[in-house]
């Protein structure tokens, strides 16, 4: 089993050590994947607090599943599969609760999260408006398209890995991304 994990990836090997009770290896996995998972979730749900809560649940589930873990796929595929599943469920629950997607938080909600580089008030304003448009355009995508774009663009995942995370074929992922980028290009053409 250990050699199988080594063929797959180093993360799977670390996870096998976690399975054997090595807490240090869990810490290494957390250190490596904490930010990518939170950032992915943040861009998917677009609420920082919720993204961190969901990420907590992701790593908690990883820890809970340690005893039954089998390195049948790349560790990140498994990790992002959990993250995507939780985020899409959260989005669906919220949609049911509110009746519609909450996209009208206004740019002020996000502006607090922008980094401190402020060359000028005008540039800052332009940056915020553009960012808000990007945010809204991504949020308006259907859930699977959104998840596919975020994994492809920000996590630089291969089509095959995205397909495994989303539980669909590689050609379906290509189709999802083609449509998603087409929509985004049309919406953000003026930027």
């Amino acid at each position: 089993m250990g050699s199988a994990a080594a063929i797959l990836d180093h993360d799977a090997e670390l996870m096998l050590r976690v399975k054997e009770g090595d807490g240090f290896s869990f810490g290494l996995l957390l250190e490596k994947h904490r930010a990518p998972v939170i950032h992915f979730l943040y861009r998917l749900v677009q609420e920082h607090g919720v993204a961190e809560e969901l990420a907590q649940e992701v790593f908690l589930r990883v820890y809970r599943s340690r005893s039954s873990y089998e390195p049948t796929a790349k560790f990140t595929t498994w990790l992002f599969r959990i993250a995507t599943h939780l985020a899409l469920n959260w989005l669906r629950d919220r949609k049911h609760e509110r009746g519609q997607e909450r996209l009208d938080d206004g740019p002020g909600a996000y502006s607090r999260q922008i980094s401190d580089r402020r060359p000028s008030v005008e540039q800052q304003l332009v940056y915020e408006v553009r960012l808000e448009e990007v945010r809204r355009a991504v949020a308006a995508l259907p859930e699977k398209q959104r998840a596919a774009v975020l994994m492809h663009k920000y996590e630089e995942m291969e089509y095959t890995q995205i397909a495994k995370v989303l539980g669909c074929s590689e050609s379906a992922v290509k189709s999802l991304l083609f449509r998603a980028y087409e929509t985004l290009r049309a919406r953000l053409a003026h930027l």
Binding site: E52, L131, E156, F178
Partner: protein, 165 residues
């Protein structure tokens, strides 16, 4: 020749996406750029995709909260403590009635069976014999026997038997 290799016509738009993302190797990049030079449609799409890529690049995620790990480890500790307590307390927890009834019935049956094996007589208790015999009772019995002797002729027995019994 250009149309034959056109990624859009070949249904290979991911090639243009990969080009815009800077993910193509040098050979593939040069081949595509030769095609782009003569294909305005692909050139336009590649430019739009590159612009989109740049716009998406600007979307930074906020930094992770400094107490993220502490919160996570606290939850893990709580879970570990909870699961430990679960394991220890499980045998002592009250069972649901549906599970408890058959178990109780089985336990009772087993108890009765073990009692049967150890003390088989106890299930049919015999009335305790009188330890002391009254003198009057003995005398009365002897009197009765004498009376029976007196009426021991067959005819007398028949006539008195049907009357007393």
């Amino acid at each position: 020749m250009i149309n034959m290799n056109c990624p859009m016509e070949m249904g290979n738009s991911e090639l243009l996406v990969a080009y815009a993302a800077g993910q193509l190797n040098l050979e593939a990049k040069m081949t595509l750029e030769r095609h782009l030079a003569g294909c305005p449609e692909c050139r336009s799409l590649a430019a739009e995709q590159a612009a989109l890529w740049k716009a998406l690049d600007a979307w930074e995620a906020p930094p992770v909260s400094p107490d993220f790990d502490r919160r996570l480890y606290r939850r893990i500790q709580e879970e570990v403590r909870h699961s430990w307590w679960e394991r220890v307390s499980r045998p002592f927890r009250p069972m649901p009635l549906r599970q408890a009834l058959p178990l109780t019935a089985t336990a009772c049956l087993l108890l009765m069976a073990s009692l049967l094996v150890k003390h088989p007589g106890n299930l049919h208790p015999v009335e305790p014999r009188a330890e002391t015999v009254r003198v009057e009772q003995v005398e009365r019995t002897l009197d009765d026997l004498e009376l029976l002797d007196q009426f021991s002729t067959p005819g007398q027995v028949e006539s008195t038997g049907s009357g007393t019994m």
